[in-house]
Amino acid sequence: MNAEVLFGLAGAVLAGLGLYGLVADPAPLRKLLAFNLLGGGVFLVFGVVARRGAAAGLGGDPVPQALVITGLVVAFAATALAVALLRLLFERTGQTLLDTAAQERTSPDQADG
């Protein structure tokens, strides 16, 4: 087993764990962490793709590396937005669960406009 296969498998495992957490875990904060795990796995696979595409004396194909940097920025921004929403939700309700049934019972019928 060479390094690329090992890293590729590790990336796949990370992505799989993250995907499972994102779908199965009920708590939003843990879902968010799972999303980051999933992202980490995908970025690792990006690295493997870059390594496999190595040519012309370079250690790796630079294009996937450039894409990973952009991907990291996007994932960071997404995480920041989600954390901001979670904090605001905690300030308003004192909890961070997505149980709408409980919230609909507490909030009266009102018009939105």
Binding site: F35, V42, G71, A82, L85, L88, S107, Q110
Partner: protein, 509 residues
């Protein structure tokens, strides 16, 4: 069959595509620099300019009959990035420009910065995100590189999520958070598919992929992941759970944007992926699966819309249902040896459904906003007499409903007629049956709004805050466009044939 065409060369009007993306984004940057009450003014200034660019792009396509192409930095793919507008892109650009402008005019009353304050949070956020969404949609409609499209998709999400929770109530925050988590699920899967494509074919340019892709396991996994991710973002059944609370809870102008335009972005990318990057996918049984999910959306969304006690959730569930029709494009356009006329009819049907639903839904949400403000609530049981108090708005909502039901002569009718004809031409009668059933169910939920609105009130309505005539006219204009799309063809077929991937190998350009 012809050999695959070479990727397009840059065309003279290509700079228009850069303008279409840069104008709204430059507007957002200016808004952040100048801040405060300038945000609204800048948004209102960008609107006519953006509209003019969209018209120019459409006109260029109609006149030359060829797609517009621009290579960033004058580098051709696979080294550089391409922007490309085919007929569908131009149509969606026009739709976006018109609806953003209309909703901008409509929203002035809701999101005016109060006199005496330098900057108010909700108005500033609304006006910046309005332009941000516009720019993001332009990237999605024009991008020709899967990673560019990923970035556009993310910009779209980041613009849309805060619009849901503009009022900061706990339930809208929950709705926004759930939307964001679904969207992140979608973006991670889209990105994972992108990596696999790059690893397999060494390019992310859609035109190059179209010539290189072949159906193997890696491509199948990549397409499956990207499609699942996009479906989560476009809220196709069974990924629709986030949509109703998010779209029903947002302020009316925001709901109108989210329901009419934002969900069309990921759908557009599914079309790009299935018809553009991987031609031939629609011949596979997977296309039937997409159609089946669409059918689930039509039935499930319509039945739930029939059960809603309030107006805005009803309209939101109607969005879930109407999105389902779009996915009938995939099973209907498939089939080896399908005549070009049928492919074109399916393509036009899908595009007209996307556009007429966009106008109808913008009108309905904006109209529901006016009704909610006038009555102080949006319970359907309390709508009696609204038809007399707000005749123009009620008329507009009814007109938009006509298009959603698919009654002639509306745009919705034309779309569904084309889809039904294609399902008969391809001997897939079950899709025709679905379109009829969906039309009946839509008739049911529209009737639930219109019947009480037009009946006489049991007791005189309490004092009603009459909305400004200007706002009612905007709603009416949106509804009229969605109906007129069926009457005046606007050269739609000609436009949609430009650079169309489904007929590209039949009509060489």
């Amino acid at each position: 069959m012809m050999a695959p065409a070479l990727p397009d060369m840059p065309t003279a009007g290509g700079f228009l595509l850069v303008l279409a993306i840069m104008l709204p984004i430059a507007g957002v940057l200016l808004q952040f620099m100048l801040g405060g009450r300038q945000a609204e003014r800048i948004a209102l200034l960008v609107m006519p300019a953006g509209l003019a660019v969209a018209v120019a792009v459409t006109a260029a396509l109609m006149l030359s009959g060829r797609p517009l192409v621009y290579h960033l930095g004058n580098l051709a793919p696979p080294l550089g990035l391409a922007l490309r507008a085919d007929g569908f892109s131009a149509l969606m650009l026009m739709t976006t420009a018109l609806i953003v402008s209309a909703i901008g005019l409509f929203a002035r009353a809701d999101f005016a910065t109060p006199t005496g304050t330098v900057e108010a949070r909700a108005p500033f956020v609304f006006w910046t995100l309005l332009l941000a969404l516009w720019g993001a949609l332009a990237v999605v409609f024009l991008g020709q590189d899967l990673f560019t499209l990923y970035v556009g998709l993310e910009l779209l999400t980041f613009g849309a999520v805060p619009l849901v929770s503009l009022d900061g109530r706990a339930e809208t925050l929950t709705a926004a958070l759930r939307y964001l988590l679904f969207a992140l699920f979608g973006s991670a899967l889209f990105l994972a598919g992108t990596v696999l494509f790059y690893g397999e074919y060494g390019t992310l340019d859609i035109a190059l992929l179209a010539t290189r892709t072949h159906p193997d396991t890696t491509s199948a996994i990549a397409v499956a992941m990207m499609t699942a991710g996009l479906l989560a973002k476009t809220a196709l059944f069974p990924f629709h759970l986030w949509l109703p609370p998010a779209h029903a809870g947002a302020p009316a102008p925001a709901s109108a944007l989210l329901s009419s335009l934002v969900v069309k972005g990921p759908f557009f990318l599914v079309v790009r992926l299935w018809f553009g990057a991987m031609p031939g996918l629609t011949d596979l049984p997977a296309a039937q699966l997409l159609g089946a999910l669409g059918a689930g959306a039509v039935l499930f969304g319509s039945v739930l819309a029939l059960c809603q006690p309030r107006l805005k959730p009803l309209i939101a569930y109607s969005t879930v249902a109407q999105l389902g029709y779009l996915f009938l494009m995939f099973p209907l356009a498939g089939g080896v040896g399908l005549p070009a006329s049928v492919r074109m009819a399916v393509w036009t049907g899908g595009a007209v459904q996307a556009v007429s639903h966009a106008f109808a839904k913008a009108a309905m949400f904006a109209g529901a906003g006016l009704i909610g403000q006038a009555l102080g609530h949006d319970r359907i049981s309390g709508l009696r007499g609204v038809g007399r108090a707000l005749p123009v708005t009620t008329f507009a909502v009814a007109f938009a409903g006509l298009s959603l039901m698919g009654l002639p002569p509306s745009g919705g009718f034309m779309a569904k007629w084309l889809l039904v004809r294609a399902s008969i031409a391809t001997a897939q009668w079950w899709w025709a049956a679905l379109v009829f059933a969906g039309g009946l169910l839509a008739g049911g939920y529209i009737f639930r709004i219109i019947a009480p609105a037009l009946s006489a009130p049991e007791k005189p309505l309490p004092a009603i805050r009459t909305p400004a005539r200007r706002r009612e006219v905007v709603v009416l204009a949106l509804a009229l466009i969605s109906v007129l799309l069926g009457v005046v063809p606007f050269g739609l077929t000609t436009l949609l044939a430009v650079g169309n991937p489904t007929i590209a190998h039949i009509v060489p350009r």
